[in-house]
């Protein structure tokens, strides 16, 4: 019964988390590693079996239902998992790449303190990420959504001694919460209008009402975009991802490149039925994606920290995926998600290997000439660079080109231009990284390696065992090689018809993206006709990539330093190198704004209204009591006086009431 096996896919890593979390402290490092690896390999094997099962039987979807998680009259949410072809691809990426990164981490983290903690968190992340993609309703997806945010928070702040790491972790969590705020509101609207959060029911209800277009669906879609933008680091919520590089490098590879950050893309694809009914929301998605792609790429050009370049590149590539979603080319977006997972994980892990070789150095200005020193890292990283730059026939070319072609085809010429420009920039900054790291002169002092950084903060990518430039052990290089192969061949499942391919991935995903919406069939089925333009566009983008490569070669190999001399100090350079001052603006407006507002509230409401009213009451009481106290003078004559006054008042009142009751007078009084 395959549906029961679905539960084990996330629960196995969770078991690993519990084991390492509770007893990992007392285990030897090999024990910790064995537990973590075992409970990542088993779900990977299960997923492989699931692939085989679903392909061989032609099953489109498997659903496993369980007890309700939340149940009140008229509304319930169940623990329910479902696997369709979209989930299958996500599962493959998560467990496959996840397993490789676990393997790599064993070598990379070998000398770190808190080894068990690292692997416990990593397994926890796997658990939540698998829940995210398996969820059969919005709320369960949200569980994974928040959970991966938690794991990300814990892992970014793994080096808890470093204030920067703590601040980055907190920033990531809080910015993601802004996205969650949108996601939550979207769910509230869904409950209000559909009474359920179950994917099947909601999409069925939408399908049943062809007239349901825009309106509240647009509101829901836009709120979902807020959530997706938070998790996938899109404008305006991308600010957390560059800072998240404070975490260990395998974490950057797994969470902040290959899997978690793609959750936003997954969300849009999963809920495409809603987006299909709201062209407005789709347009917003496309614009956000294109702008983010260009914006992040432009910042990536001037970064000097090797991991930060990759971080901005991730944001930029996620922008491509959003662009793909925005033009309703969901399968192209998923395709790029998959290839990106391969080559970006590879790039991060290779960068980690470089950092490892240089005993913790991350600044590219202090690298150079590493080609001969760490050859395996060099060759694998080269595959990644070529793949992301869009050089055929590597993976990135096919997937990126598919998105660009679909953008062009849908008539968004301006967005296509932006995408093309970004492709050129991508190629430029990736080859810049490549040249600065592996070519030219060695700009590091081999003897100082490790010392400076070990002194500065020994937990910073901790390589406290400084012993010159060295290639990484095979437990780290093995995953690199596998990912390099995938980065080369991974795109071949999506060769378009124009290039005499079959675009298998699009056919594979077609049931997911056409199942619910009749109107979207034509948009999602492969377009066979325009082979000529498609070839032309592919040729253009390859040309642009080559121009970017040539420019990088010119400025960093042929005439190194020329570009730097001319630009550094100019105001555009400053603007870009300060990341357009976005962090500063956000800090001033949102963080300081909130604090200012709160302090004002503290003064006006808390001290004034809340406690002030109490003080006022106390004051009035005291004042009146001190007035009435004078009556208790102890003086018999004054008591007699009060007595007389009181009696007079009583008599007056009685007289008045008797008079008022008298018919004649009362009558007159009422007149």
């Amino acid at each position: 019964m395959p549906e029961h096996l679905l539960w084990f896919i996330p629960l196995l890593p969770f078991t690993g988390f519990l084991l390492n979390g509770f007893i990992g402290r007392k285990l030897p490092r090999s024990g910790v590693a064995a537990i973590a690896l075992l409970f990542t390999a088993l779900p990977a094997a299960l997923v492989a079996w699931l692939w085989q099962y679903m392909l061989s039987t032609g099953t489109l979807a498997i659903t496993a239902n369980s007890r309700p998680w939340i149940a009140v009259t008229g509304f319930d949410v169940r623990f329910a998992f479902t696997v369709d072809h979209l989930t299958l691809i996500m599962l493959g990426v998560i467990t496959g790449v996840g397993f490789l990164i676990h393997l790599y981490s064993i070598g990379y983290m070998a000398h770190e303190e808190g080894y068990w903690r690292f692997f416990a968190y990593l397994n926890l992340f796997m658990f939540f990420m698998l829940v995210l993609v398996l969820a059969q309703n919005f709320l369960l997806l949200f569980v994974g959504w928040e959970g991966v945010g938690l794991a990300s928070y814990l892992l970014i702040g793994f080096y808890w001694h470093k204030p920067a790491a703590n601040a980055a972790g907190r920033k990531a969590f809080v910015v993601n919460r802004v996205g969650d705020f949108g996601f939550l509101l979207a769910m509230f609207l869904l409950i209000k209008h559909f009474g359920t959060l179950d994917f099947t029911r909601i999409f069925a209800a939408i399908q049943l009402h062809p007239g349901l277009q825009g309106g509240f669906l647009t509101a829901i879609a836009l709120l979902l975009v807020v959530g997706a933008a938070g998790k996938s680091a899109q404008i305006p919520l991308y600010v957390w991802l560059p800072d998240a590089m404070e975490g260990p490098t395998p974490v950057s590879a797994l969470i902040h490149a290959a899997t978690m950050v793609t959750a936003g893309v997954y969300l849009v694809c999963r809920t495409h039925a809603i987006f299909d009914r709201s062209p407005y929301a789709l347009g917003i998605v496309a614009i956000i994606g294109a702008l983010t792609a260009l914006f992040a790429a432009s910042i990536g050009i001037v970064q000097n920290d090797i991991k930060r370049v990759l971080a901005y590149s991730t944001i930029s590539q996620l922008g491509y995926m959003f662009l793909g979603c925005g033009v309703a080319a969901y399968s192209a977006a998923v395709f790029h998600l998959m290839t990106h997972a391969f080559f970006k994980a590879l790039l991060f892990l290779a960068a980690g290997s470089v950092i490892h070789a240089l005993s913790g150095e991350q600044d590219m200005r202090k690298m150079g000439g590493l080609r001969k020193r760490i050859p395996v890292t060099f060759w694998t990283m080269s595959a990644g660079v070529l793949a992301i730059a869009g050089i055929p026939p590597l993976a990135g070319f096919f997937s990126k080109d598919e998105i660009l072609y679909r953008t062009f085809d849908s008539g968004h010429i301006l967005l296509w231009d932006i995408g093309l420009l970004t492709a050129g920039l991508t190629s430029f900054y990736m080859f810049r990284l490549w040249y600065k790291t592996f070519f030219g002169t060695e700009r590091f002092n081999e003897h100082d390696l490790g010392q400076v950084h070990a002194g500065e903060n020994e937990h910073d990518e901790g390589q406290a065992h400084a012993h010159g430039v060295h290639e990484s052990p095979w437990i780290m290089l093995g995953p690199l090689v596998i990912l390099a192969v995938l980065s080369v061949v991974g795109g071949w499942v999506g060769v378009p018809a124009a290039l005499h391919g079959h675009n298998e991935i699009e056919h594979f995903l077609a049931p997911v993206f056409t199942a619910t919406i009749p109107g979207a069939v034509e948009a999602a089925t492969p377009v066979e006709s325009h082979a000529g333009p498609e070839l032309g566009l592919a040729f253009t983008s390859v040309l642009v990539a080559l121009i970017g490569w040539a420019a990088a070669w010119f400025f960093y190999v042929k005439r190194p330093g020329t570009l730097g001399e001319k630009t550094i100090g100019t105001s555009p350079y400053r603007l870009v190198s300060h990341k357009f001052y976005i962090d500063e603006i956000y800090n001033a407006v949102f963080v300081q704004g909130t604090l200012l507002f709160t302090r004002a509230a503290d003064l006006v409401i808390e001290s004034g209204l809340v406690n002030g009213s109490g003080s006022l009451a106390a004051f009035v009481t005291r004042a009146s009591s001190s007035a009435t106290r004078r009556m208790q003078s102890g003086n018999i004559r004054s008591y007699a006086g009060w007595l007389a006054a009181g009696a007079a008042v009583v008599i007056l009142v009685m007289t008045y009431s008797v008079l008022a009751a008298h018919p004649l007078v009362g009558h007159a009084a009422t007149r």
Binding site: T63, W69, G147, P163, N166, V174, R177, T196, R201
Partner: protein
């Protein structure tokens, strides 16, 4: 002799007997602690009788009343005026009893070393406080209820005044007492008016009368009376901006006292009395209360952000959580009311754990000031683990307890027809998730990460002791259990919540059935739906849901017109 009809009296009076026992025992060694622990554990054990036998007992329903009570004891106490010794519980009060029972032994464990002198006074008052609290939850006679309500004030005020941590404690105690006492006078007037109008103090009778709109009196008088009730309860909750007493009381009070202090009494009383006796009036008050709830959520979270004192931070965090409950119950939707009730329980657990941990920290470092702490992560690994878990529960992380409540509340708030600006308030309230994450993570960072503070550097800290582990892990277990198995609790809460929202509860009729209610199909899914295919039931039900949403929105616009 069936225990079912005497169990409530046993639960209420066991701590009273315990208090007498403690008063007689000598204040030497650890006698007082052990005795108090034994008494509270016995009480807790007795409260567990209720959920265990809840489904099997008879329901006592007054004809026409939407409320059904179980484990009822009803004997005359005073003939004229007609006051009865009338006890009974429903789903809500049962769980509140269990919660109070659960927190008490942990409160004793928290005070084990923290209270060094005058232990006899402390534990006796602590037990008396518990008597009052348990009494409030079981009383179905207004007069009896009022007696317990007033009794709850005195021990708490003395506890704060005597065992507070700074010189400000007396001021805080007086503030607490006055804030609670003055509105209580209003409540008393309201109750007496109600008695003269109807001739009864019995809640089931009153709610039956209210259900048929047959409480005598002009609408003006009823409105004033309901307001007297509501104001008294709102101060007790406290509802923003009536929280002046809360922050000082929490900042000063000893850990064990504040663990049981906030929220439960006031919110319970609103649900039990205001909603049952004055349903129409409460509907009119709903827009204001929804707004105050939403504002309180954001206000509490924002104020917590700028505190330097851990206890004051916890105080504002408490305000935020209670505002969630207020928002939820006044939406008068099933989701909102059920979620609000669930959140009362959650707050008791999550807030209690937070106070407990802060108390343990104080035992080590003698300060609640975050500027003096910092960098403790390396010294106290278990402490930081539990602090983080508790903070996550307070943040509302899915799969932990608070999330379920908050989610239901906010979704109810989006559905409500009683406020014209429901989405506005929902949006505001939901933004609280951002601020709550911000202040709790900032707190973790300031206390445990970064550099050592001046006090945390010089004092020798020690990681959690066995006693502290015993006090904390039950909380963690409950975070998880209440986070993933919420139907276990909500199925009894729903019996109260659904009628308040104008529905009939369908949860007791069995899971997995498609019960029909109010003309739309219930969304209990058929259990076996192994292949992802759209079935007809889903179509039909989604269809009716859409229709219903239209009628809801038309109801909303009618409301706007009114």
């Amino acid at each position: 002799m069936n225990l079912d009809h005497s169990i409530l009296s046993l639960i209420v009076f066991t701590p009273l007997a315990g208090a007498l026992l403690l008063a007689l025992l000598p204040d030497r060694g650890r006698t007082q602690q052990w005795a108090a622990l034994a008494v509270t554990l016995v009480t807790f054990g007795l409260t567990l009788h209720l959920p265990y036998y809840f489904a099997g007992t008879d329901i006592s329903t007054t004809f026409g009343s939407p409320l059904g009570f179980r484990f009822v004891t009803d004997v005359p106490w005073i003939a004229q005026p007609a006051i009865r010794y009338h006890l009974g519980v429903d789903g809500l009060s049962m769980w509140l009893l269990v919660l109070s029972g659960f927190l008490a032994p942990l409160g004793v464990l928290a005070s084990w070393n923290a209270i060094g002198s005058r232990r006899k006074l402390f534990y006796t008052l602590f037990l008396l406080q518990q008597v009052a609290m348990l009494g409030v939850f079981v009383s179905l006679d207004l007069f009896l209820y009022y007696a317990f309500w007033e009794l709850s004030l005195v021990p708490m005020a003395i506890l704060i005044a005597t065992f507070g941590r700074t010189d400000n404690r007396r001021r805080a105690a007086i503030k607490f007492f006055l804030y609670a006492f003055i509105p209580s006078a209003l409540l008393l007037v309201g109750m007496l008016w109600l008695y003269t109008a109807t001739g009864t103090f019995q809640l089931p009778t009153l709610s039956a009368l209210a259900a048929t709109h047959s409480i005598p009196g002009t609408s003006h008088a009823l409105w004033l009376c309901s307001l007297a009730f509501l104001v008294a309860f709102a101060v007790k909750v406290p509802v923003f901006p009536l929280h002046g007493w809360l922050i000082d009381a929490i900042a000063e009070g000893p850990t064990a006292a504040i663990m049981v202090l906030a929220g439960k009494l006031g919110l319970y009383s609103i649900l039990r009395f205001s909603f049952a006796i004055f349903p129409d009036q409460m509907h009119y008050a709903a827009p204001v209360m929804i707004a105050l709830g939403a504002i309180g959520i954001v206000y509490g979270a924002c104020m917590a952000l700028i505190q330097n004192d851990l206890k004051r931070l916890a105080g504002f965090s408490t305000l935020g959580h209670l505002s969630f409950c207020v928002l939820g119950i006044f939406t008068f939707t099933v989701n909102g009311v059920d979620g609000g009730m669930y959140q009362i329980l959650n707050h008791g657990i999550s807030g209690g754990a937070l106070f407990l941990l802060m108390g343990f920290l104080y035992e080590r470092y003698g300060t609640y000031d975050m500027r003096d702490l910092g960098g403790l992560s390396g010294k106290l690994p278990w402490m930081v683990t539990l602090f983080v878990i508790t903070a996550l529960s307070n943040v509302g992380l899915p799969m932990l307890n608070s999330f379920v409540g908050e989610f239901l509340i906010l979704s109810g708030s989006a559905q409500t027809v009683w406020s014209h600006h429901a989405m506005l308030w929902t949006t505001l309230a939901t933004s609280g998730v951002i601020f709550s994450a911000a202040y709790l993570l900032t707190m973790i960072q300031r206390v445990f990460y970064a550099d050592l503070g001046n006090i945390s550097a010089e004092r020798r800290g020690w990681d959690l002791t066995a006693r502290e582990h015993i006090a904390l892990w039950p909380f963690v277990a409950l975070f998880l259990f209440m986070g993933v198995a919420s139907p276990y609790f909500t199925k009894t809460l729903d019996l109260l919540g659904a009628p308040y929202a104008g529905h009939t509860s369908t949860l007791q009729s069995g899971e997995g059935q498609n019960a029909t209610m109010d003309g739309h199909t219930n969304h209990m899914q058929p259990a076996a739906e192994s292949v992802l295919k759209v079935n007809d039931v889903a179509f039909a039900s989604a269809d009716t849901r859409l229709l219903r949403s239209k009628t809801l929105s038309s109801a909303n616009s009618q409301g706007a017109a009114r």
